[in-house]
């Protein structure tokens, strides 16, 4: 083959190669982008309601009065609402006294280590049984394994005892009982 023939062949190959390269460049992506997702489902919010105060009613100077935790009409009742079967941490802040509205006199109040009941089956203070939760447990150290009932509610019942002095001033006494609840993630 002479020199001109070789050059023509070479030129033809170069042209073919350029076409081939152009096609191949089109096939190879410069970059790729993909979009994944982050997802979460937030469960029901937690709330607590003081459904009924702890009611001692009328009491006499010098005569201590007790309200048990299983009295429908007078035990303290708290309703905790949230995600069914979720684990929660619950704790009371209990008063050491109750007072007249103007603060002029105070009356001692006490809570024993059996004054609380935790009911995850939403019965009533008078009808709760052991299988519903924890009966007669310590209000200052409520059970760590407490859960919201399967129906989305757990109740806490509270009793207590007041000790009026012999010269206790007459009038209406009150004090705050605070129940704090939080999901513990279980």
């Amino acid at each position: 083959m002479n020199k001109k023939g070789v050059e023509r062949k070479f030129a033809a190959v170069v042209v073919a190669a350029i076409i081939c390269f152009s096609l191949s460049v089109n096939r190879v992506q410069a970059q790729d982008v993909a979009t994944g997702a982050a997802t979460a489902t937030v469960l029901a919010a937690l709330s607590v309601i003081a459904a009924q105060n702890l009611i001692f009613g009328n009491i006499y100077q010098g005569v201590a009065s007790t309200v048990a935790n299983n009295i429908n009409a007078s035990s303290g009742i708290f309703n905790i609402l949230g995600q069914g079967s979720a684990g929660i941490s619950i704790s009371f802040v209990l008063p050491q006294f109750i007072a007249l509205a103007d603060g002029s006199d105070r009356m001692t109040i006490g809570f024993s280590s059996t004054d609380a009941t935790v009911d995850s089956n939403n019965t009533t203070p008078a009808t709760v049984v052991a299988g519903d939760g924890w009966i007669n447990t310590n209000p200052n150290n409520l059970p760590a394994a407490t859960v919201i009932g399967a129906a989305g509610q757990t109740n806490v019942y509270l009793g207590g005892r007041v000790y009026p002095s012999v010269d206790q001033a007459a009038g209406a006494y009150s004090g705050d009982i605070i129940l704090t609840v939080a999901y513990n993630g279980t």
Partner: protein
């Protein structure tokens, strides 16, 4: 002239044989059910919950890897704070990647990462933390995680 001819031909053959890189989303970053007020962390080592991306392409080629990360999960009108720490990413380019013990661990997903593809490509794992508020409205929240890869030519 003959040598030049051969060299040009080889160049174009090599260029024509380069494989495109592609990304497959094997798994989303799934926080699942969350309680209001309780932060939830998904480890990059947790199969089925951590985000997992697979990149395929030319064995041995270096690629740049860049995330566009969200800062919150959202549903209509509300959001949850989303945190990605500078160790929440891991990469493995071995033929059989091990999510529980990845070859390249504790990588910063906020930085551009440079790694080479293996025989089977490369797998990227991503964890994260969601922080719902105590009064977080219930419902399903989502966010996009965008991954961009490109050959660096190295």
């Amino acid at each position: 002239m003959r040598r030049l001819f051969i060299g040009v031909t080889l160049f174009f053959l090599i260029a024509a044989s380069s494989a495109a890189q592609t990304i497959t989303v094997n798994n989303n970053l799934v926080f699942g059910d969350m309680f209001p007020g309780v932060p939830n962390t998904i480890s990059k080592y947790t199969a089925g919950a951590a985000a997992e991306f697979h990149v395929s392409g030319t064995n041995g080629a270096e690629i740049s890897i860049q995330f566009t990360l969200p800062t919150k999960l959202t549903k209509i009108g509300v959001s949850i704070q989303l945190i990605f720490f500078d160790t929440d990413c891991a990469i493995d380019h071995r033929p059989n990647p091990d999510q529980s013990s990845p070859l390249f661990d504790n990588l910063d997903p906020w930085s551009t990462l440079l790694y080479r593809l293996g025989v089977q490509g490369l797998t990227i794992y991503l964890g994260g933390t969601a922080v719902p508020r105590i009064v977080q409205p219930p419902g399903a929240y989502t966010a996009d995680i965008t991954l961009t890869v490109a050959y660096t030519g190295a």
